[in-house]
């Protein structure tokens, strides 16, 4: 692994860490409002929206912290990758049904309306960054023959 790749790896890892720590932390502040955003997707039964709102921000936050600390990086990438795939599926379903809702991706009380289309494009970028981080991380491990 070259020095450039090492720098790139840490930059990508820290960018992802900040995204998920922030996304988790703001939603943890107002779980009820976030449940409202989840309900707006009209995918889950009423009470399940609360279950998602009560757990998802904490998973995002925990994964973000691991990325920040450079610990268990690949498991954290798998976890946030799986969640991002779910978000993308939900957004595609919103677009397909023509719902006009705020994605609720970050601050649930912030009122910064982000449409499903914009959120989907952003998630595609996020997936690319996840893939890049995974690839660079794997090279680090191969290079130094160390384990996670």
């Amino acid at each position: 692994m070259t020095g450039v790749q090492r720098v790139l790896y840490h930059l990508a890892r820290l960018a992802l860490a900040l995204v998920f720590v922030y996304a988790g932390a703001v939603k943890m502040q107002d779980v009820v409002a976030f449940a409202g955003h989840v309900a707006a997707y009209q995918i889950l039964p009423y009470a399940m929206n609360y279950l998602v709102a009560a757990t998802l921000p904490y998973i995002e936050f925990l994964a973000g912290i691991l990325l920040l600390l450079n610990l268990r990086v690949r498991p954290a990438l798998v976890a946030v990758g799986a969640m991002t795939v779910c978000f993308m599926a939900a957004l595609v379903s919103v677009l397909a049904r023509g719902l006009e809702i705020d994605c609720g991706c970050f601050d649930p009380g912030g009122g910064q309306d982000v449409t499903a289309g914009v959120a989907l494009v952003r998630d595609i970028g996020l997936m690319a960054l996840l893939a890049l981080t995974w690839w660079l991380r794997s090279r680090t491990i191969t290079g130094s023959a160390s384990r996670e």
Partner: protein, 165 residues
């Protein structure tokens, strides 16, 4: 070797998700339990006089609301008039909790006390429907219920709404 590595990473990712979920559930267990038991309204206020028997509005779920309205129950919207005008459950009348003192006499003239009433507001822990239910019981209505899912649950279930949109 490669496969073992992937298996370990997958397993650790599952543990991470489980830990995060557990953490969230520990902090929000009351909210989740309330959502699943259909009890998303704040605790009722302590009665001023302990000797007076306290009657609370009975919580009802979406299916019951549909059955009750089909058999003649009246839906009453506790939200403010602007929200009512933007969109409300089809057939619901507006009785905003913020204007209750002015609006209640007219409501008493129009609606007999024997009529079944279901109050609702904006769901998600909004207390107005519950407070309105208490006021209607105090005013003499005998069958008062609260639809706690409120307008959002009704709309999200694709049921008929009225208003400006």
């Amino acid at each position: 070797m490669m496969f073992d590595d992937m298996k370990r990473i997958g397993l650790e990712a599952c543990v991470l998700i489980a830990l995060g979920a557990l953490f969230g559930l520990t902090l929000n267990h009351q909210l989740v339990m309330d959502a699943f038991s259909g009890r998303l309204v704040p605790q009722q206020r302590q009665p001023v006089q302990e000797l007076v028997p306290v009657v609370s509005p009975v919580p009802v779920l979406l299916d019951e609301v549909r059955q009750l309205t089909a058999s003649g129950a009246l839906l009453v919207d506790a939200r403010n008039p602007e929200l009512y005008a933007m969109g409300h459950i089809e057939g619901a009348v507006s009785l905003p909790i913020v204007e209750i003192d002015d609006a209640l006499p007219g409501f008493l003239d129009r609606v007999t006390k024997g009529r079944s009433i279901i109050t609702y507001c904006s769901g998600f822990g909004c207390p107005d429907s519950f407070d309105l239910g208490l006021r209607l019981i105090e005013a003499g209505y005998r069958d008062v219920r609260v639809f706690e899912g409120g307008f959002p649950e009704w709309r999200d279930a694709g049921l008929p709404v009225a208003g400006e949109g």
